[in-house]
């Protein structure tokens, strides 16, 4: 079942790569799209098989592989990985659809995209540490090549930087995994087996810090983030979509799955530091974004900032905050993918991403009015305006983290305000005002260019209005993960002298029920 998500794209990639008829880029695109849509369809089928009341791993598959190494082919999905797997399948479709139809070397390009999707799915599904590491490393190759071959002017620099950083990340993670098995003396890398092992706190902390740095590069945590803007700027639009949408999530997913999951006591010790780093990420990313003039850099740095919210919620590590982290991962994945798609259209039509050059693109006849409107929707979603998924995701993050890290949470709220500053700047500069003469003859925008962004926007609004669809899948798993760490007592961290909170006994209110709403909610969630 789960293997299909990994092997169908691999099979497809092989076919596309080696059959000569796919050197026609349109045909290669259609074939890749068909495979990606099949994978997405399969993912939807898996959703229907998923039991949300079960907090543990589901749909598991196990095959022995390299027994002496402790490497088994063990796959499984739970509430933590399911939303990410779904989003991965979805974003691969979007990315392939929005690829340049006349791309050079289409066979290699589409094969790499499918491989990338497959490796990312594999990493999310792997329940063996070595297997995870394999997928985690495998995903680098297609991504590196996608940047290095189809990237912008400085693609060599950016791709190499990306490779070096993320390879370092992989080595650190591997080191931590080895350390763990070595020190616990278990002869397997299976997650479940390792989870039940106990280590002295000091050892745990060392291993966790190693993991933190390893995954921190991927997330990225400040100051390990500088590969990200370069990679984004040079990467083509579909690559950026996957990079921002999925690849960064590997870092936070890894932290939750392996950091929190394997070292809960150490997590509790390091959590305040992690929360502090989250604040730095949010504020630092936002401040740097304000000073940028390249639209892609603005969006890239906003990713640095917004991944900070995931870190914050992860640090709090309560059941609700884990759920919040998952929600924020999906929310950020969708929103940043949308923003990159839109920036991509702007770039492909105008030839620039410089907000000091762009102006007046909302012009209805000669500009990019619909793209501009979607951009406004996208930046508002990113800025946490209600009605879109960004708001509810951020609110749940704040709400869940506040009780553990009040000051850090309030500082992160400031980051939301700064998001408004840089994104408003972007929209006002590039889209408002009079269209200048040098942009008066832009090529036509087709529905093909708009469709991916429209779909993303609809999804973002839908999840904003019906957030149950976002959170339902992960409740059980988050609760289980969140219970691993006894929640740090509030009085230790609380800066506000919160004396004796009086519990509220809500007054008895005559509530009128709204059958229409309840019915909708029920029907909406009766998929399972």
């Amino acid at each position: 079942m789960l293997s299909t998500l990994i092997w169908a794209p691999v099979l497809g990639a092989t076919v596309i790569a080696f059959l000569p008829q796919f050197s026609n880029s349109e045909r290669a695109r259609q074939a890749a799209l068909a495979i990606a849509i099949f994978t997405l369809g399969w993912t939807v089928f898996l959703i229907t098989q998923f039991d949300i009341s079960n907090a543990g791993l589901q749909l598991q598959e196990t095959l022995p592989w390299v027994e002496p190494l402790g490497l088994t082919y063990r796959l499984g999905v739970d509430g933590l990985s399911l939303p990410l797997v779904v989003m991965n399948s979805f974003l691969v479709v979007i990315a392939i659809y929005s690829s340049d139809p006349k791309i050079n070397r289409p066979r290699l390009y589409y094969a790499l995209f499918l491989l990338l999707g497959s490796a990312v799915a594999g990493a999310f599904l792997a329940q063996n540490l070595l297997l995870f590491f394999l997928f985690y490393e495998l995903e680098l190759i297609p991504l590196y090549l996608l940047i290095a071959i189809w990237g912008g002017a400085r693609r060599g620099y950016a791709a190499t930087k990306f490779l070096i950083y993320t390879a370092t990340s992989g080595i650190l993670i591997l080191a931590a995994f080895f350390g763990l098995t070595l020190l616990t003396g278990v002869s397997t890398f299976d997650y479940a087996a390792l989870q039940s092992q106990a280590l002295p706190l000091g050892t745990q902390i060392i291993l966790l810090v190693t993991l933190l740095v390893g995954f921190g590069i991927k997330i990225p945590l400040v100051p390990l983030h500088t590969w990200l803007p370069d990679a984004h700027v040079e990467a083509s639009t579909p690559t950026s979509v996957l990079l921002a949408g999925m690849l960064l999530k590997l870092g936070t997913y890894g932290l939750l799955r392996f950091g929190l999951g394997l070292f809960p006591e150490a997590w509790r010790v390091l959590a305040p530091w992690l929360a502090a780093i989250a604040v730095v990420n949010v504020l630092y990313g936002s401040f740097v974004a304000i000073a940028q003039t390249d639209m892609k850099k603005i969006v890239a740095y906003s990713s640095v900032g917004h991944m900070g919210f995931v870190i914050l919620a992860s640090a709090a590590a309560t059941p609700l905050s884990i759920l919040a982290a998952v929600g924020q991962m999906v929310s950020h994945g969708l929103i940043s993918a949308l923003l990159f798609l839109l920036v991509g259209v702007v770039y492909s039509k105008t030839g620039t991403r410089d907000v000091t050059v762009l102006r007046g693109l909302l012009n209805p006849e000669r500009g990019l009015p619909l793209i501009g409107s979607l951009m406004i929707a996208g930046v508002m979603a990113s800025g946490g305006i209600p009605g879109m998924v960004g708001f509810v995701a951020e609110f749940v993050v704040y709400r869940s983290s506040f009780s553990v890290f009040p000051v850090q949470t309030l500082l992160c709220v400031l980051g939301t305000g700064l998001t408004a500053v840089y994104f408003l700047n972007l929209v006002n500069r590039a889209f408002f005002g009079r269209l200048p003469e040098n942009l008066a003859n832009l090529p036509r925008v087709y529905w093909r260019d708009r469709l991916p962004s429209v779909v993303m926007t609809v999804l973002i609004i839908f999840l904003g209005l019906q957030p149950s669809w976002l959170y339902r899948w992960s409740e059980g798993t988050s609760a289980a993960l969140g219970r691993l760490t006894p929640s740090p007592a509030i009085s230790h961290m609380a800066p506000l002298p919160l004396i004796e909170t009086v519990a509220v006994n809500p007054p008895e209110i005559e509530l009128v029920s709204t059958p229409a709403f309840e019915n909708f909610q029920h029907s909406a969630l009766s998929l399972e």
Binding site: N363, P364, E365, R366, R434, L435, A440, L442
Partner: protein
């Protein structure tokens, strides 16, 4: 034809002046330009025909109607027409009223003077009494004694502009017919056609009368002596080609920002000045005209537009660019029609007077889009 006896002009637009003196136009001659100008004037002619009929209908049949909900229906109200009206599948007569308001507000010419005269007040009062006498409106008329006369002034402009556009519409349709017959081939032919038609219509009388309860009230009798060229055409050129109003969509009305001149005479927001790019945006009234014209483009012009980068997507901007070109042809015709002396005169004094005449016009066009239509 620049004579050796006359010094070249030192005006910043000297090239244009010399071009006009040697029989040229404000728009360079090229087959594309002729195609665009004639094509767009054809659709403009169709639209003006509708505008003109409606303006005259409102002036005559909707005289002081308090709730003229059906003023755009030209008297034929049917369910089908009503539904189409509500669906906004119609000519945007609002634009005609916008031009009318431009003329009313900016004034100028004999019509404007007449509206402040005692004769106008006398004739208007009679018509008002006939219309509202014995209704509650009379009380309002007593309280706000200038309310209804001001409405009649506006209606006089409805009528005046309607009569002006009647002539212009026919002129443009004729031009298109001649083009179709192959008799118009250059910009000079276009200009000559318009100039001749303007000169021919110059002395047409402008009058306005309404029928109330079976009796006809002359608001502007023929005896006032208002004529087509001096009292509608020139004020129209001034108000619509040159001045117009600042667009909400591009100019701030904030008094502290001082973006709008305190003198309406300094306004330069008219058809010869406006930027075609924002057409279609919010707060750009000429969009309405371009929208109306898109329905009546001749096939050859539509095909020509389809060759552009964006096809149908930026149709209205392209129409506006062509329209602006055609308006420079109309301006050329007006300038030439108003020349104090024949263009080919050899009398140095007359030549100098012609030169001064041209320089005065060019002063007004300094900041216009003249340069842009040269290059395109």
């Amino acid at each position: 034809m620049v004579s050796l006896t006359q010094q070249p002009s030192t005006h910043p637009l000297a090239d244009m002046i010399h071009c006009l003196e040697s029989g040229g136009a404000l728009l360079p001659d090229s087959p594309d330009n002729v195609l665009e100008v004639v094509g767009v004037l054809k659709s403009y002619g169709v639209v003006l025909d509708a505008y003109s009929r409606n303006l005259i209908y409102i002036a005559e049949q909707q005289f002081l109607v308090l709730f003229p909900a059906f003023k755009y229906f030209d008297g034929e109200v049917s369910l089908k027409k009503l539904l189409r009206h509500w669906w906004h599948d119609r000519i945007n007569y609002e634009y005609a009223e916008y031009c009318m308001k431009g003329m009313l507000w900016h004034g100028g010419g004999g019509l404007d003077d007449y509206l402040d005269s005692a004769e106008f007040s006398r004739r208007t009062e009679a018509a008002i009494q006939a219309k509202v006498g014995g209704t509650p409106m009379q009380l309002l008329h007593k309280l706000f004694s200038n309310f209804l006369p001001e409405q009649v002034r506006q209606l006089a402009y409805y009528s005046g502009l309607g009569q002006f556009w009647r002539v212009m519409s026919d002129m443009f349709i004729d031009l298109s017919d001649l083009y179709d017959q192959g008799e118009v081939q250059t910009i000079a032919d276009v200009v000559a056609h318009i100039r001749d038609a303007l000169v021919e219509a110059a002395a047409l009388p402008i009058t306005y009368a309404v029928t109330i309860k079976g009796q006809t009230y002359e608001i502007i009798p023929k005896s006032v002596g208002l004529t087509f060229l001096a009292d509608t055409a020139l004020p129209y050129v001034e108000a619509v080609f040159f001045r117009s109003f600042p667009f909400f969509g591009t100019v701030s009305y904030n008094a502290q920002a001082h973006q709008i001149s305190e003198k309406p005479g300094d306004f330069s927001y008219g058809a010869l000045f406006a930027d075609p790019l924002p057409i279609g945006s919010a707060g750009i009234p000429p969009t309405l005209l371009m929208q109306d014209m898109r329905h009546y483009l001749p096939g050859y012009l539509h095909d020509f537009y389809m060759q552009g980068l964006r096809g149908e997507d930026d149709l209205r901007v392209k129409i506006c660019i062509s329209f602006q070109k055609s308006m420079f042809c109309v301006t050329t015709a007006t300038v030439l029609g108003l020349m104090p002396h024949p263009l080919d005169t050899t009398d140095p004094v007359q030549r100098q007077e012609n030169r001064t005449h041209l320089e005065n016009w060019m002063d007004r066009l300094l900041t216009s889009r003249l340069a842009d239509v040269q290059s395109e």
